[in-house]
Amino acid sequence: MAEMTYLEAIRQALWEEMDQDDRVFLLGEDIGTYGGAFKITQGFLDKFGEDRVIDTPLAESGFVGAAIGAALVGMRPVVEMQFADFISCAFDQIVNMAAKHHYRLGEPVPMVIRAPYGGRLHAGPFHSQCPEAWFIHSPGLKVVAPATPYDAKGLLKASIRDLNPVIYCEHKYLYRHAKGEVPIDDYVLPLGEADIKREGTDIALITYGAMVQQALEAADEMSQQGIEVEVVDLRTLCPLDTDAILASVKKTGKVLIVHEAPQVCGIGAEIAGVIAQEAFHYLDAPVTRLAAPHTPVPFSPPLEDFYLPNATKIAAKLKDLASY
């Protein structure tokens, strides 16, 4: 075990997988000499060479397509989007070529697209987006979104070893703001399993990514008032661990779903739908969602602060639910 940042955990997972599996290689912009916009791949070029750490031209659709082709003939490409926002430029290749391939032809497309996503860095509408729901709604893709260094490493390894195209959403704010104990050696966390980050009896709080920290903060605050909130970290968004969600809701009878992506048609909507169908009789209060409003991500700090859910806003919702 060693204490490390979320960024370092991702870096380690990549490094180890490349080290032990020749099929793993990297494609992306500025990932070679420069080591990546966030320095995740610093040192990789020297260690693994030009063949396996490929600085591509500025062409997301092109290099995602190339990753698909390489995956089809036995490689394990890991693509870095410089920012998740640019994943839109490769949307067609992802949802039409990669996502549908196994269903149509029975051939696996084992590849990972790393998507540095999310806000709180005052980076504006084009460097802060949360793209996960688009891909959850596109059958054939897995979507992963870890919240801690430990999960980030174990889930990235699992994503690389998975036989399907995985959109690995790594939260930019967490890169340097999440620290934790991480095993130095090899371990894998299964895709599709949520993790209870805090046990509780009164309210189920379902979330993931950067909102887990905020949720835990809010839960601590509630605890001082005698309300025990159970924080369920989804970790994988597709496939969704509905068992874990339903278990927590059934146990607590109340639920708050939190995410940073826009509320309308976000993953929170799906979770609410599952709960309202499957756990209807266990509910003691309306299914409550807290997510971003229906706007692009604004740039200026007061606007972005207003836009993003955080511990304070979560606590307010929890209080409402507690006193319901």
């Binding site: 290689f25 063949d51 396996r52 490929i54 591509t56 031209p57 062409a59 659709s61 092109g62 290099f63 995602v64 397509g65 190339a66 990753a67 698909i68 082709g69 390489a70 995956a71 089809l72 003939v73 036995g74 490689m75 490409p77 067609d92 290749q93 039409n96 070529m97 549908k100 391939h101 196994h102 269903y103 149509r104 032809l105 029975g106 051939e107 696996p108 497309v109 084992p110 059958p139 054939g140 897995k142 036989l163 399907n164």
Partner: protein
């Protein structure tokens, strides 16, 4: 390069088989016996057959929707093709996808999908894998004139150029993209003019001359295999039918079609075979074989079961 009689007969067989199967599918389309739309490459068979025959068995192809010949040369069987057109479980997609949208990576074929040009970067990725693994294999991407307007064409060709990948780009320039003639698709005369933007060799050939296609691709493949990087081969041809069988192509000038009909690649090749004095009975034997295989394929497909409804739920994820 002079081909041996056996090789010539192989080309001839695949030309005839491609034409035979597609003619038959057209007929069945009219009779309402197939599922969905009907896309054929009538008159363009020299490109798919000539190029595929010029490749090594384990080279990987990404054919377009005009490329039945490529599939056949790579080993796809007439029965599978017919079963696919009839939405049967025995088709290569088990009924999940239709008509020419199939592939099989074990037989080194990347399945075609509708969004035009998507296969180009994918094929580049295949070539990249070969380069990384230092395998002496190449990838081949096929696409139409219309497809070359898409961003993925640009991004794919450029990636291949910069990384100097072992790949051949084959443009089936059949003068039209659905109803849009070349002159409204681009402001240059040849698709190859576009490809000059990438810094690797381009050639323009007569796409209705199967031997010219064979030779050009053989050369380009050798170059790619030897580490020389990509080549762009534009094959001039003409779409002799509608975009698909629902389209009567009344927007195509009749004279243009007449002119090209005289250039039919199979007739031309037959002329050549006779010049080369290939015995008439060998040609006849090919025709007989093709007719029989087509009939068997239809019979097989029509007898073969549709998928069970619940198979719809299978196979989204690889496990």
């Amino acid at each position: 390069m002079e081909l041996r009689i056996e090789d010539l007969l192989k080309l001839y067989y695949y030309l005839r088989l491609t034409r035979g199967l597609e003619d038959r599918v057209i007929k069945m389309y009219r009779q309402g016996r197939i599922v969905g739309g009907c896309y054929v490459g009538t008159g363009e068979e020299a490109i798919s057959v000539g190029s595929a025959c010029a490749l090594a068995p384990d080279d990987v192809v990404a054919p377009s929707h005009r490329g039945l010949g490529v599939h056949l040369v790579k080993g796809v069987e007439p029965k599978e093709y017919m079963a696919q057109y009839l939405g049967r479980r025995a088709g290569p997609t088990r009924g999940k996808d239709g008509n020419i949208h199939f592939g099989d990576i074990r037989r080194h074929i990347i399945g075609f999908i509708s969004p035009m040009a998507d296969g180009i970067p994918v094929a580049a990725g295949v070539a990249l894998a070969f380069k990384i693994r230092r395998e002496p294999r190449i990838a081949v991407a096929y696409f139409g004139d219309g497809a070359s307007s898409r961003g993925d064409f640009h991004e794919g060709l450029n990636l291949a150029a910069v990384l100097k990948l072992p790949i051949v780009f084959i443009c089936d320039n059949n003068q039209y993209a659905y109803s849009v003639p070349l002159s409204r698709q681009m402001a240059v005369s040849h698709v190859a003019d576009r490809a000059k933007a990438y810094g690797f060799p381009t050639v323009i050939i007569d796409g209705n001359d199967v031997l010219a296609v064979y030779d050009a691709i053989k050369g380009a493949a050798t170059r790619a295999r030897g580490g020389g990087g990509p080549t762009f081969v534009e094959c001039k041809t003409m779409r002799m039918r509608g975009h698909a069988e629902h389209d009567d192509a009344s927007y195509v000038p009749r004279e243009l079609l007449e002119e090209w009909r005289r250039q039919d690649p199979i007739q031309r090749f037959e002329g050549y075979l006779r010049e080369r004095e290939v015995p008439e009975e060998r040609l006849q034997a090919v025709e007989t074989r093709v007719l029989q295989e087509v009939e068997e394929a239809v019979e097989f497909a029509e007898k073969s079961p549709l998928p069970d409804p619940s198979e719809a739920l299978e196979g989204v994820f690889a496990t």
